[in-house]
């Protein structure tokens, strides 16, 4: 076998990458060829240079905050796994529930047959199957699984841990109504000079307490309006039902994530029922999490609240873990009063500059999460202070300036 100095097997031989038989052949070739010996010597020198210079330090480690963010994610996955197991357990009971119900019917028939005072049931076997017990039927409905079932409250399935797109291809988005959250934390910080209890911080209420207008891709829902024509705009008659917008920006507390802000605004004069569902694109999104809504009130667990009052708006924030730094993150499908509206595509452009309102919304989300001690990744006092500084401006609206002051005061509390 003739081996030339250009043969990559020489390096493979040097690096122990050849199988024994081939290594033997190469060794024999080297032993008989001075040119190969010279090449091998050169390769050995290059290897030694690389080995010496590329030896990395064992002291290079993640920063403590980064490590903690990872461990927090691991803990939340552990917790989610337990909940999933419970859900599977419920699903697992479903067939048994049916069998037990069937057995109960048969037992009832036998009981009736043996009771002389009872009328026989001539068509007992043709009777409809008794309903499945409620607990069994409550196995999590696809696509959204409740993580817990507290009585009478709407539950955000991603309140404690982000959802995988594979298991949760769609997420109904709730409308926000109660807006006392900002007043409550303001009272705690300014009057009681203490940080509010973590459980009392409702991110969605704080986010919706300040008016925000995103620089967003928008879609408009119109309702059929007899006699409406563009010429009658000046009269106040409008077919406009609601406007939906979405804007993305880098997630301040998690460099790997993107923050999707969704804002829906209703008609100035008429309330409506707004139903909205986020469908993440599985090609670009791996996990996502609706921020807030951990236990909003007056709603059933099965359905997201949908009342959008006249002139009101709701802003929602969704943390998106993407596979790509930009691209199609999914769609928002929505309907007003049962009438489907144009679907909105959510596209993230990595290099785009977020609007001032989106930055402010990100600050509100960061502050709320910091107060609630949620899954906040890198978020700490320093980062929060920096975010607040970034949002400062001379011509800031009074309510925003007041919010920045509130953040500063909270950061001063030990």
């Amino acid at each position: 076998m003739k081996v030339y100095p250009q043969d990559p097997r020489l390096t493979a031989f040097l690096l122990d990458e050849l199988d024994p038989a081939e290594a033997h052949k190469i060794r024999e070739a080297i032993n008989t060829d001075p040119a190969l010996q010279e090449t091998l010597a050169e390769l050995k020198l290059a290897r030694a240079d690389l080995a010496e210079s590329l030896t990395f330090s064992s002291s290079v480690a993640l920063l403590p905050a980064q490590r903690e963010a990872i461990m927090q994610e691991a803990r939340s996955v552990d917790q989610n796994a337990k909940i999933t197991s419970f859900a599977r357990l419920l699903q697992g009971w479903k067939p048994y529930g049916i069998s037990l119900a069937a057995a109960a019917v048969v037992a009832l028939i036998l009981l009736l047959k043996t009771n002389p005072e009872s009328k026989p049931a001539p068509t007992a076997l043709a009777r409809p199957m008794p309903p499945i017990p409620e607990q069994v039927a409550l196995a999590p409905p696809a696509p959204v699984k409740p993580t817990a079932l507290p009585s009478g409250n709407f539950v955000n399935p991603s309140a404690t841990a982000s959802l995988t797109v594979v298991e949760n291809p769609a997420l109904p988005l709730p409308m926000s109504k109660v807006k006392h959250g900002l007043a409550l934390i303001t009272q705690a910080i300014r009057t009681e000079r203490q940080l509010p209890a973590a459980a009392s911080v409702q991110l969605e209420e704080i986010l919706n307490a300040l008016p925000l207008k995103l620089n967003a891709i928008t879609a408009i829902a119109r309702r059929p309006k007899p006699n409406w024509h563009p010429d009658v705009r000046e009269t106040g008659m409008s077919a406009h039902a609601a406007t939906l917008g979405a804007e993305t920006l880098p997630c301040p507390w998690k460099p790997s994530a993107t923050l999707l802000l969704v804002s829906i605004r209703g008609n100035a004069t008429d309330a409506c029922q707004a139903k909205m569902v986020f469908h993440p694109n599985p090609e670009n999104v791996s996990r996502y999490r609706l921020l807030g809504y951990s236990a909003s009130k007056d709603n059933s667990p099965a359905e997201a609240p949908s009342l959008l009052e006249a002139g009101a708006s709701t802003t929602l924030a969704i943390e998106i873990e993407s596979n790509n730094s930009a691209g199609d993150f999914g769609t928002l499908s929505w309907a007003i009063d049962g009438q489907p509206a144009p679907t909105l595509s959510v596209r993230h452009v990595a290099a785009s500059e977020p609007s001032d309102d989106a930055r402010f919304a990100a600050l509100i989300c960061s502050f709320s999460q910091w107060l609630s001690g949620g899954n906040t990744g890198l978020l700490d006092r320093d980062l929060l202070a920096a975010l607040a500084r970034e949002n400062g401006a001379e011509n800031l609206a009074p309510e925003r300036a007041d919010f920045l002051a509130l953040v500063r005061e909270a950061l001063e509390i030990k």
Partner: protein, 180 residues
């Protein structure tokens, strides 16, 4: 009585938290070094590695445990490449400077010397093709086999062998010969 073979015992079930803790301990430094070499920036490398471990959190341990090392390097590489692609339009390659990963337990003069040699070598590595540079880093910085490099980069082992061979020869031509 015949003892029950130990291999019949079910594998120990560990929590995701314990699994991740161990993975961080074992792989954070190699991954940061690898990402640093790709990104030329230790801070950004840490971000990429953090992201890699967060993604690991989302994987069932039993799915990735067997090939954990390759999985981590693959995800780390993809994230770093995303960043490089994103920055390609804004950062000229000539402007990029290697940031030294300081060595442990070295005296200041040793550290400076090593830093200089490291910087020289990195400058030479920059003159190789991206593929050559990457497989050389994976081989000599991380000690991965051709097969493991194949799993991470998708290159064939034959191609990897050729790239490393040609890369080593090119480096040897670039490195000043020791007069002694």
């Amino acid at each position: 009585m015949t003892p029950v073979p130990a291999d019949e015992d079910p594998p120990p079930i560990i929590s995701q938290e314990a699994f991740i803790e161990q993975a961080i301990t074992d792989f954070q430094s190699p991954l940061i070094a690898y990402a640093s070499a790709l990104l030329h920036d230790v801070d950004r490398a840490r971000d990429v590695v953090q992201d890699t471990f967060i993604r690991l959190c989302q994987q069932p341990p039993e799915r990735v445990r067997e090939q954990l090392k390759s999985w981590l390097f693959t995800v780390c590489r993809n994230r770093a490449m995303d960043i490089l692609r994103k920055e390609r339009n804004t950062t000229a390659l000539e402007d990029v400077r290697w940031k030294k990963v300081a060595g442990p337990g070295l005296q200041p003069d040793e550290s400076i010397d090593l830093a200089e040699r490291h910087a020289q070598l990195m400058a030479m590595l920059e003159r190789l093709s991206p593929n050559q540079r990457e497989v050389i880093l994976l081989k000599f910085q991380q000690g991965l086999s051709y097969q493991e490099i194949h799993q991470i980069t998708g290159l064939t082992t034959t191609n990897i062998g050729f790239l490393i061979h040609a890369g080593l020869k090119r480096l040897r031509d670039l490195i000043p010969k020791d007069p002694s």
